[in-house]
Symmetry: C2
Subunit: 334 residues, 2 copies
């Protein structure tokens, strides 16, 4: 394990200077402090917080609302804390954004605050820290993201495959055969996973796969506007959406165009955002247990902290049937 | 929660008789005792052991050696106990086979012994209890097996996808392009997963997929004998095996035929059985951390006991490079 001496030797400065840098003292330059912290991370120095076994974790949040009860991020944080705090951990919630990540490397941030490990919500493949996760040796759990080959990083999320199989099975039982997919672009880990889950589920239930049944677009409303008429023209009678936001946009779009849901078109979302119970009609969707997702985050961190190098924990989803799905058009209601 | 009264009413017998059945008393018939236990399971009766919160788990083992140190089953059991016992659980190890499973339903067995939950090693899709797992409400974790849609059952295993990607990447770096697969039949969950992992890994690294590069056969030695010449004729220069036993059989076969490993053919296994370090040449293979797998089993059970309905925990594998892989024939060694 690297010591303060090692850092001092490497930088050619005194032990006192290194100590000031590590302890956030004001009488050294910001540049020197940064250099010291980066060298500490590089050499694998373990901070006094960690040495003292203060049990500190952080949840790093980007693009996610965490203060409103029942919202996605809020519940995940709650579930995580319900497991971590009785186990003696202090849990800090830290909002981060791309600017923040550009300003400080992940390892330096974690060292500076004495965090043992972190749970990350809402990052995308484009975030600056994602590159660092490939080589970081800090126990880190990502929600709905996956880093290959690094034993210090694990992933938690909901099983997309099981989710899409539930949706396709439900629609097939209602008589639907031509089932489409509308999704965002396949640039994120989770949208790729859901896209593959759609293909596999259709295959599993013996339904026709056709490129013309699939619409992938960046802008939610624009792509809904474009793909719904396209898919209907192909004879599609039900559409799966990679996430609820798009499904909700589709409900609005259909209402505007006089396309009746579910009489003319069945719609299934994914995530079960709280608002989906109140759309018109209420949305059939795949439910992720958000509290349980937060708990999974802590289980995954526990594994990593205990040197059990898991890659992923997947939670089982459930199907919530509301009123946006019905029998295939032309078939009498059951 | 069902009571002794409920069971008595359903069967039309006295409370005393039910109590005798549940407590294993000798003065009632075996047939009545069985009926009482089955009704207890059906009605969701919670045994006095569970009510008293005696913390009892079992590891149910089939087709797996668990008494020899460093062997697969032994180490998994050890890892599980290392987590469970400090947490206050008594862990019983119970060998089971098909006859045993035919003799008593899983739910009755668990109720009779007062086990809260179980960890199962070595079962296949053909085992009688597998059907019961689809509807059982007892927290149960399966190693290398998966039950869809039942929130009381979870699965642990090693990430086949990441394993095959490590193997294919390694072989590609050595210049191999035509890489084959020899596997058992795709009747087991895990062999299916590894087969798909092979296809995906080849695709990911831009290598040609060809049905003639794949040999699936039930009998280990027979299929090795048959497929190795077939694949070599196709120009395959490296073969991945779905598990080490087949790879070891292939080494023997190649030695007999004068096919030099790795000069003429590179071979990669999966599992890292202890003996693979001592074959001639020692086998390059995918390592599963067996102690960690056992620990994962306990983590998964903890999730289920805590009503966190996970589907799976996957452990990261690593590649162990020994001497059965080398540069593609015709290419100078690096």
């Amino acid at each position: 394990m690297a010591t303060i001496n090692d850092i001092a030797a490497k930088l050619g400065v005194s032990k006192g200077t290194v100590s000031k840098g590590l302890n956030n003292a004001r009488d050294i330059s910001e540049e020197m402090r940064k250099k010291i912290l980066e060298t500490a991370v590089e050499l694998g120095y373990v901070s006094k917080h960690l040495q003292k076994k203060e049990k500190k974790l952080c949840i790093l949040v980007e693009n996610m609302e965490i203060h409103t009860p029942n919202q996605f991020g809020h519940d995940i944080v709650l579930g995580f804390k319900q497991m971590a705090e009785p186990d003696g951990w202090t849990v800090d919630i830290v909002p981060i954004d791309i600017e923040f990540q550009r300003g400080i490397p992940y390892g330096v941030f974690m060292l500076e605050h004495g965090y043992h490990a972190s749970f990350l919500l809402g990052l995308t493949l484009l975030d600056p820290w994602m590159k660092e996760f490939r080589i970081s040796n800090i126990p880190t759990v990502l929600y709905d993201n996956y880093i290959k080959g690094n034993p210090y990083i694990a992933s938690v999320g909901c099983d997309s495959q099981e989710g899409f199989e539930l949706s396709v099975k439900h629609l097939k039982e209602l008589g639907h055969k031509k089932i489409g997919l509308i999704s965002g672009p396949l640039e994120s880990y989770i949208l790729k996973a859901r896209y593959n889950a759609y293909l596999n589920a259709m295959e599993k239930y013996g339904l026709e796969l056709n490129d013309n049944y699939i619409g992938l677009g960046y802008y939610v409303n624009d792509s809904t506007k474009k793909y719904i008429p396209m898919l209907l023209k192909e004879g599609v009678t039900a559409i799966l959406f990679s996430h609820d936001i798009r499904a909700i946009s589709a409900i609005t779009e259909c209402n505007d165009r006089g396309i009746r849901i579910p009489e003319d078109l069945s719609i299934v979302g994914f995530d079960d955002l709280p608002m989906t119970a109140h759309t018109l009609p209420p949305l059939t969707t795949i439910h992720q247990d958000r509290i349980a997702l937060g708990k999974c985050g802590f289980y995954a961190l526990s594994c990593l902290l205990n040197h059990v190098t898991i890659g992923s924990i997947l939670l089982r989803p459930t199907l919530v049937v509301r009123n946006s799905t019905g029998p295939v058009p032309g078939k009498p209601a059951r």
